[in-house]
């Protein structure tokens, strides 16, 4: 089915010899889910480099007590922009981009249900992000402090009120994130409708790949979680410019209200970010173990359970806020409960590995990196759920270490796994295995060296968001180790960048199905034609390509 003219479709669908302007127009005006997916991920990766640069500056500043690489004003801007960028401009677009590209392919559809809404969502995200970064030129921050937002990525009231944040930087934060949030909601709805209405014949809900299930629940969470944030931001805007007093504590407002609204978004958001990681490894681990995923129905059930419970745990970000013991205990219970479905997933992945024929290609290495690091991040998460322990380490570097194990060790590692796994489908060319392994091991060492010691410095009493610390606190060694780890990570990212650029121009041709995989995206050409499938496929099981490759022993006999 991979004829030459299908090869000429997809990414290279413009006529040969088209001018730059035509190509540019084609990308800007496109509503093709694959082009939008590529743009989402590319923009996300560029923001990832920017956010990584901000983090590196912070680690440089903190590598030793009393340094003055950046002053307090710049440091406050750096951690605010780093957090905001990584959550809203890296995590969100990459997960939406990968879903954009592969959900239709995996369910045998020709596009998302609303292609133009999809394009609208992307451009909202991009311009929201650009608006946020424009603040470096156009805004003023907290009193006496210039340019970009500097109130922290969760922007606790009343620090964001006009009294304390007098310039426009907080308004840039509100509007930039608010606008890109509308884009996320649009794309979330789009994914839900697509998954419900555009599945190919034979693909019942319980025959969807786990990737699609996870993105389905993810999209639902986006739809539920984003509006409270947008609402809170609008309320804050009212406070700042129309004299409302929702969060203005000097005028009877409530600082607790902002935290409730923000974390009612913020905690599901963490799951919005991690479910895609689950989605990627749930596809990659089976393929490179050469085994069907263990316990598919339980995996689906666990996903739904995580979706539900994640909406009822937000107060665990507020254990030190002085709420009553009963409230704290209840949310401790719900937070611990979420470890159960997450644990089921972990065990099912391990059971998939067990008895398999594990091929340690780069995508699998990153998936296994995900597995080990997410395990550690998940376990420190259980520790943090224990309220008395949380009273000590909440808002300390222990928390910073914990959520980087989840979001970097988990999400970012799985994103790299996804890129090594699916880029051959997108570009038609393989990434280099050898460089990929350098990338993995450097990042693995650098990551653990940076974020492991943070748990220790946190337990030794180091709070987060401080631009410097006293020399007599015994934190030097741990901070120095963290900062040295960054050097490894920078090297890893250089390998990665080289690998991607090299592959795009000189990579080995991938063919339709380089990994001998089982889901529908591998049934079409690499890159896929604009219409995805010449004929809409008909499936009988969760692994249609397995059935095709093993007609004597098809999956549908067992499901």
């Amino acid at each position: 089915m991979s004829t030459m003219d299908q090869k000429n479709q997809g990414l290279q669908s413009h006529a040969p010899g088209a001018t730059f302007a035509t190509r540019l127009h084609e990308w800007i005006a496109t509503s093709d889910h694959k082009k939008l997916g590529v743009m989402y991920v590319t923009a996300g990766l560029i923001f990832f480099l920017i956010g990584g640069f901000e983090a590196s500056m912070m680690r440089w500043q903190l590598s030793w007590p009393g340094l003055n690489v950046v002053g307090p004003e710049e440091f406050n801007r750096l951690f605010t922009m780093h957090g905001t960028t990584m959550v809203f401009l890296v995590g969100m677009p990459i997960l939406l981009g990968v879903a954009n590209y592969f959900v239709p392919l995996m369910i045998g559809a020709r596009d998302l249900a609303f292609p133009r809404l999809n394009a609208f969502g992307f451009w909202l995200f991009l311009f929201g992000g650009l608006l946020l970064y424009y603040s470096y030129f156009g805004a003023q921050g907290l009193y006496g402090m210039g340019s970009s937002p500097d109130v922290g990525w969760f922007a606790y009231a009343p620090l964001t009120e006009k009294t304390f944040s007098r310039g426009h930087s907080t308004d840039y934060w509100i509007l930039g994130i608010g606008i890109s949030g509308f884009g996320s909601i649009a794309t979330g709805i789009n994914l839900i409708v697509t998954i419900l209405c555009r599945r190919c014949p034979g693909m019942s809900l319980m025959k969807m790949p786990l990737f699609v299930w996870l993105m389905f629940i993810d999209a639902i969470l986006i739809m539920i979680a984003m509006p409270p944030l947008t609402a809170a931001q609008v309320m804050l805007l009212f406070d700042r410019w129309l004299g409302a007093q929702f969060f203005d504590t000097q005028d009877g407002g409530s600082a607790v209200l902002w935290q409730n609204l923000f974390w009612f978004f913020g905690h599901p958001e963490v799951y919005i970010l991690i479910l895609p990681a689950f989605a990627y490894v749930s596809e990659i681990i089976p393929v490179f173990s050469r085994k069907v995923i263990f316990g598919y129905p339980l995996m689906v059930a666990a996903t739904i359970a995580i979706g539900f419970i994640s909406l009822g745990v937000w107060v665990h970000h507020m254990f030190a806020l002085g709420l009553s013991p009963m409230v704290n205990a209840i949310f401790m219970g719900s937070t611990m409960l979420i470890a159960v479905p997450t644990g089921m997933k972990m065990f099912n992945w391990i059971a998939t590995l067990y008895g398999g024929r594990i091929l340690l290609h780069t995508p699998m290495l990153f998936s296994l990196g995900f597995l080990t690091q997410f395990l550690l991040g998940g376990l420190t998460g259980v520790m943090l759920a224990v309220v008395p322990f949380d009273w000590q380490v909440s808002d300390s570097y222990f928390v910073v270490g914990h959520f980087h194990y989840v979001l970097f060790g988990g999400l970012v590692f799985s994103i790299f796994a996804a890129i090594y796994y699916w880029l051959p489908k997108v570009s038609g060319r393989m990434l280099d295995e050898k460089i990929g392994k350098w990338h993995f091991w450097l990042l693995f060492i650098g990551f653990n060296l940076t974020f492991g010691p943070m748990h220790v410095s946190g337990m030794l009493g180091m709070p987060r968001r401080i631009y410097t610390y006293q020399a007599d606190r015994g934190w030097e060694l741990w901070n120095l180790l963290s900062s040295i780890g960054v050097l490894f990570q920078i090297a890893a990212i250089l390998f990665f960048t080289y690998n991607v650029l090299n592959s795009l121009f000189r990579g080995k041709k991938a063919g339709d199905d380089p990994w001998d995989a089982w889901t529908l995206e591998w049934a079409t050409t690499s890159p896929p034609p604009e219409y995805n499938f010449k004929e809409i496929p008909v499936v009988h099981s969760r692994r249609p390509l397995w059935d095709e490759k093993h007609p004597e022993d098809p999956d549908w006999k067992y499901e």
Binding site: S289, F294, A329, V340, R357, K549
Partner: protein
Amino acid sequence: MRHERSTKPQAAPSSLLQSSFRCIACLVIVFSTGFSGVAIAVTGDESESSSLKQGPLCDGAASSPTMFAPRSRPAQQILDITWLVIGIVGALGVIVMAMIVFSIIRYSHKQGDENRDEDEPPQIYGSNPIELAWTVLPILIVFVLFMVSARGIFEIEKETPPEGSLEVTVVGHRWWWEFDYPEYGFVTANELHIPIGDDGAEIPTFLSLQSADVIHSFWVPQLAGKTDVVPNRDKNHLWLQPNMAGKYVGQCAEYCGGAHANMLITVIVEPESEFKKWVAEQQKPAVEDSKVAKGRHVFERTACINCHTIRGTVANGTFAPDLTHFMSRTVIGAGAAPNEPKYLRQWIHDPQTIKPGCDMPAMKLTNEEIELVCAYLETLK
């Protein structure tokens, strides 16, 4: 059984071995870093707690403000729960990590022959009893953890003062701490003095936490967990009950703007007799010394008095620390520098060089005036 390990002589075992070694080496690095970190933190505690045997009136401050060297009842209770949690979570972690590493090493395969169809291993779709087991077991573990921790919450989080406590109102300001002793009728800043019995008996202290501006968080790890200091919410409390004298450090743990990093806390736990002496000193009005009248004059005619209070003078501002007994404190700038003549002069010349972002501006005094003001301040014992 479709699965058959490759019997080709060289390549398979060597790559299996290689990848296994890589996995093990890296995991060893990761784990040893983590565990040695915790171990050092804890050994720090062990060597410190040997001084506990020397008696509760020795200095209990550890080399770090670490939660592993508790010197107060709530901090001790938290640590007890923490050990249990570390035990349970650590055991789970080791078991699951071993399962992952074992599966990777045991089932790794040589790359390159993956397209050989006959090599596909048996396909296992799932197993109800096994899956039920790893659903029910975690629920049981979580249940135990929940019950133990919930009891801890209700024991530690006190909403009313324990019997016989000293009550102090803590007001978080950007970026310093006000300590108000309503029983004794004076206000001080940045250094909290609390008593322990002369015989080492524990005396509870009950802090009421209030904020003058944004959210702060009061955190002295050796004495208690942190509690946020929230504006327009005057019902937050923190309970301390030290069992060892000493000078304990901590700092604001909720980002509060520019000089957040230098919003440090010092808590001095001292025997009750010394504490009483300190209280008596603090209750007195400021020392008047005619030798420094010039300095006092400079102080009183500059903007200093808009923000600072010195009881008995025209200075009655409340935006900045009370200076009535300034020299009884060991730090300036809420811990940004020690209270020594050199730093005091630098501070008055331009506080921004010591604590960037703080609200006190450079007062634009001449060197002579700085000398006079410092001489005056240095009499405020």
